[in-house]
């Protein structure tokens, strides 16, 4: 029940002998306060909470044995029943009576059955009211919306100024009488006119709704609560923008659109944000008599989401969110990202913790990179290594030849990981220019970069690198390298040299050094064997067969593997 009472006083009937011992009511209220606290501290499935509710419910039993309803008068610090205080709390701001009192509730009346179906609802409301901000609904609205059947309350409406009474005294003096003749004349006069309602027009049966009409209304109400009102508002304000040419109105609406987008973002309405951004584009194209300034201002709205700060905020909140919005909504939103978002997206692709979000952002990165190669190439030189790395990766994946020049610069970067990525990217681009730049990689200070580079040469059959490889094989530096690097260089050489390289490799594999000794150590000889395997000619096989009885296990194994690969 919601009812107002005069603000002056609530009449409290004093009763000498209450129908129930006040101690029972006091106990129930004590347990109610405990249940409020339990509701605040524990989840509904927590045994502590369940126990508190159970005790509260049980405390009503002896009360309902004697009465059917329990009216409690609410004061600032107390609940009163039957004229006496049955609950009081010292701290006003924290007290349960105050929660009710401050919003105007002056009496609450619990009815039999309240404890079973509605007590928990009340606990929830009390908690909401305690935490409510000034913008939130007050306790009265919460109680009203909850529509309790077994909890009634009376309140004074604190927010209402005393309205001037609607009173007939304010009206003019009514007439004392009317002239019967006037009535009769008017009846006669209008009988022939339209004053008399034609009841045929209003055959009552015409106004009963048939099943089809009832279903229509029902479906309309359903639709009212199913449609996305926010999307409707986006359409509305952009319709206003397009049709109203007044600059002040356009300014006001574009501000609203801007703020609304932020509001929608914070509310997680990503699909609607995407819709808004799309429609903003349409509005800027279609709006009647739009000026360049107005168009620019409108066009800036989508850019705001793509700005690094805004987009970082969004991605961070998504990454931290326990429940990701539907994939379709996010994809729709990401589709609206602009070129300026590319750097931020690249920066976040590597950072994301959420494994479901990552592929969606990867998709967005792919789309943005494909359609904005200029920006992509620029980002290769980003000072943010994560961004540069992703840009390098994407440039390679897209075989962006325009990226070769910035990648050449990256080949001199201090960060070996970037140089390594650049090698891969250049390899993927695979153009003569890209491979030429790649030659730098053979002299790189980082072993992995060098290894990758020579492997790329092998894979790409890049013969211009042969000279460099031969020099490396002949040189002393490679002798100091680890087996993997040696192997990579020799194999690359073998892949590119053809029969012309056999003498050099034969010399390394089988060349004699001092007395009964070999010229090269076993590792280098084994690498030469593997390189001969890569040459894959009968001449190379002949050389390998000669070493098939080699005593050095490492060399013999390498020869054997090389031969078997050739056979295969």
């Amino acid at each position: 029940m919601t009812s107002t009472t005069p603000s002056t006083a609530v009449q409290v009937p004093e009763q000498a002998e209450p129908p129930v011992s006040p101690a029972l009511v006091e106990e129930m209220l004590k347990l109610l306060v405990k249940a409020v606290r339990a509701h605040q501290l524990y989840l509904p499935n927590n045994p502590m909470y369940q126990r508190a509710i159970e005790l509260l419910r049980g405390s009503f039993t002896p009360i309902w044995d004697r009465i059917d309803e329990l009216p409690l008068i609410v004061t600032e610090r107390e609940f009163k029943w039957s004229g006496r205080a049955v609950h009081s709390e010292d701290s006003k701001s924290e007290s349960l009576p105050w929660i009710f009192y401050k919003d105007g509730v002056r009496e609450i009346r619990m009815l039999r059955g309240f404890e079973t179906t509605e007590a928990e609802g009340l606990l929830g409301i009390v908690q909401r009211a305690r935490n409510a901000t000034p913008e939130d609904d007050d306790l009265l609205s919460m109680l009203w919306e909850k529509d309790f059947g077994n909890l009634r309350y009376r309140f004074v409406d604190l927010g209402m100024e005393s309205a001037a009474a609607v009173d007939s005294a304010m009206q003019e003096e009514p007439p004392k009488g009317v002239d019967r003749q006037q009535v009769e004349e008017e009846v006669e006069e209008q009988k022939a006119q339209s004053g008399v309602v034609n009841l045929d027009d209003f055959d009552s049966t015409l106004y009963f709704l048939d099943d089809r009409e009832v279903e229509y209304l029902r479906s309309e109400v359903r639709r009212e609560y199913e449609i996305d009102m926010r999307r409707n508002i986006v359409s509305t304000i952009l319709d206003i923008y397009e049709q109203q040419t007044d600059p002040a109105i356009r300014e006001e609406v574009s501000q609203l659109v801007d703020n609304f987008m932020l509001h929608l973002l914070s509310a997680g309405q990503f699909s609607t944000v995407a819709f808004l951004l799309r429609e903003v584009g349409d509005a800027s194209r279609r709006a009647k008599d739009i000026t360049p300034d107005q168009r620019a201002k409108l066009a800036a709205i989508p850019d705001r989401l793509s700005a690094p700060e805004a987009l970082s905020q969004l991605l961070q909140s998504l990454d931290e969110s326990e429940h990701l919005p539907p994939q379709s909504e996010l994809l729709e939103l990401f589709e609206q990202l602009r070129m300026s978002a590319l750097g931020t997206v690249f920066g976040w692709v590597g950072k994301l913790q959420n494994t479901k979000l990552r592929p969606m952002l990867e998709g967005a990165a792919e789309r943005l990179a494909m359609s904005n190669t200029g920006e992509l190439v620029k980002l290769i030189s980003s000072t943010d290594p994560a961004v540069a790395m992703e840009a390098i990766r994407r440039a390679g994946g897209l075989k962006t030849t325009a990226a070769v020049a910035p990648l050449a610069k990256v080949m001199s970067d201090r960060d070996p990981a970037l140089r390594q990525a650049a090698v891969h990217a250049l390899a993927e681009i695979g153009s003569p220019g890209a491979l030429q730049v790649l030659e730098k990689g053979t002299d790189d200070s980082d072993r992995d970069v060098r290894v990758t580079t020579v492997r790329v040469f092998a894979a790409k059959s890049y013969r211009p690198a042969l000279t460099k490889l031969e020099a490396a094989i002949k040189g002393k530096v490679l002798r100091e390298a680890d087996l993997t690097e040696k192997m990579a260089v020799f194999e690359a050489y073998g892949s590119l040299c053809g029969d012309a390289g056999i003498p050099l490799l034969d010399g390394i594999l089988n060349g004699k050094g001092g007395l009964f000794g070999r010229k090269e150590d076993p590792e280098v000889r084994a690498c030469a064997a593997m390189a001969l395997g890569k040459v894959a000619s009968s001449g190379a096989s002949d050389v390998l067969r000669r070493s098939s009885n080699e005593k050095e296990v490492l060399v013999r194994n390498a020869v054997s593997r090389a031969l078997s690969r050739q056979t295969a």
Partner: protein, 493 residues
């Protein structure tokens, strides 16, 4: 045992205190009972008693009633004003049961039954006797005579499971007086708050939505509790305060219509809020244009026609809420758009007018056309307005909503000033609860046949018949109360 019973004062007093609560057992089973009762009344009316449809409906009724008695240990149906109470709980009206409600109210009223208590045990054949007696009684005589006919029939057949009692007029009057006072308070507060809202927006200040919410909640409570008093107050069409009273009137009429369409309490609240806000855009139209009585230039009309979209912009600035009032924005924007979108403002993007906009559009159109305002010094009669809404497709109103609206208001809407065939003057107080008698509303006779003005007047149900079955009084025409110096709203205050 068959005897008469007077409704308890306690249970009637609950009427003013009781409110729509959670969907308790009694509400759910009460609805089922009302539908079963209605089904039985219809079956008995349409078919011979041995027909299977009659047997089935009576079995169903006996079963439902027995189930309630087993669960609640009592079954008392009480009719008070426009409401049916089952074991002191007021039953909800909704789209699925409003016809049944209307019919049962009308049958009870026609037989002057205020309360029916069903004692444990009536079998289907007992119900047959009672329902037949009730059905037969509607055909002739005064309500009091019919009441005694039913009692006699029950005595004669030895059916003892039913106890009927007349309406308790003093409790009913007390209930109506309380409702009237509450309605006046609600109306006054609503106008004050609306004025504050519109003036705040006009001055560029934020409006306090909490107060607005509270008045809409009060209006919804009032409409759910006792509709007539508040709907009656919409006849206050204060020329000077038109913008404010109009918004409140549209809110009240919309909520009343929404209730008739079966909206839930919270949906009624959404609708009421949107209706109250529907003209908020006018707060951004210059007063000199709004108040101009004649000769509006094209530009001035354009300014007035801007109020729907200005309303949307204004609602972005309404403070004190976590979420923007989207539904209100949509209604403010669409309420002149017409169902086929040929109205204003023109819609560029695809749109379907919302049901709330359709409802508000009907309420707005009705209140505006029947009010005197700056550029309409002679208002139209409510009946003419209804006819126009119904017959003129260019008005663009949803025909089903209009149909339901006429069903709600009756042929003669509340506040219509009428002349009776007795040459008495009367004001329509409420539509007849029996929807089949929509041309016979409950009126307040404000002038007797000699022309003496009666204040506060006498309530009279035009469905009353004399012993021969003829109607005692009938409306012969609607009239302009100004011609008789009568102010309709005085009779609702």
């Amino acid at each position: 045992m068959t005897q008469t019973k007077t409704p308890s004062r306690a249970s009637v007093a609950m009427a003013s205190f009781s409110e729509m609560g959670g969907d308790s057992y009694i509400r759910r089973s009460g609805r089922t009972f009302i539908l079963a009762f209605y089904g039985a009344l219809r079956a008995v009316k349409l078919y011979p008693v041995e027909n299977a449809a009659v047997t089935k409906s009576l079995d169903e009724l006996a079963l439902v009633a027995g189930e309630i008695i087993r669960h609640e240990h009592e079954l008392e149906v009480r009719v008070s004003g426009e409401f049916i109470f089952l074991n002191s709980t007021r039953l909800r009206l909704d789209l699925e049961n409003y016809a049944s409600f209307s019919h049962i109210l009308s049958v009870f009223r026609g037989a002057s039954i205020g309360v029916l208590t069903v004692h444990e045990g009536p079998a289907a054949r007992d119900w047959l006797v009672f329902v037949s007696a009730l059905q037969a009684s509607t055909r002739e005589g005064t309500p009091q005579a019919r009441f005694h006919q039913i009692l006699g029939k029950l005595e004669q057949t030895g059916v003892r499971g039913f106890e009927i009692g007349p309406p308790n007029e003093s409790d009913e009057n007390e209930f109506h007086e309380k409702a009237k006072e509450a309605a006046k308070r609600t109306y006054a507060q609503s106008v004050t708050v609306t004025k504050d809202l519109i003036n705040s927006v006009r001055m560029g200040k934020g409006a306090n939505i909490k107060k607005i919410k509270r008045v809409v909640q009060s209006i919804v409570d009032q409409i759910l509790n006792e509709e007539t008093s508040l709907v009656g107050l919409t006849t206050i069409r204060d020329y000077d305060e038109y913008t404010f009273t109009h918004s409140v009137n549209v809110c009240i009429i919309s909520v009343a219509l929404g209730r008739r369409l079966g909206l839930t309490k919270l949906q009624l609240y959404d609708l009421g809020l949107a209706a109250l806000f529907h003209d908020i855009g006018k707060s951004r139209v210059p007063l000199e244009v709004l108040n101009k009585s004649t000769g509006l230039s094209d530009d001035e009309w354009r300014q007035i026609a801007s109020h729907p979209w200005l309303g949307v912009l204004a609602l972005f600035g309404v403070r004190g809420q976590q979420e923007l009032p989207y539904r209100s924005m949509v209604v403010a924007y669409e309420h002149h758009m017409k169902a086929d979108l040929t109205g204003y403002p023109r819609s560029i993007r695809p749109r379907v007018q919302s049901i709330f906009s359709k409802i508000v559009s009907v309420a707005d159109g009705f209140d505006a056309a029947t009010s005197r305002r700056a550029y309409q010094t002679i208002p139209l009669s409510p009946a003419d307005v209804l006819k126009e809404m119904r017959d003129n497709p260019r008005r663009g109103m949803d025909p089903v909503v209009v149909k339901a609206f006429i069903n709600m208001l009756g042929v003669y809407p509340v506040g219509t000033f009428v002349v009776l065939d007795s040459f008495e003057l009367a004001i329509v107080h409420a539509a007849n609860p029996n929807a089949e008698k929509m041309s016979r509303p409950i009126v307040r006779i404000v002038s007797d046949d000699r022309g003496t003005i009666l204040q506060p007047g006498l309530l009279y149900d035009l469905a009353q018949q004399d012993a021969s079955g003829s109607y005692v009084k009938t409306i012969i025409k609607t009239a302009d109360p100004d011609r008789y110096g009568i102010r309709v709203s005085d009779y609702f205050l």
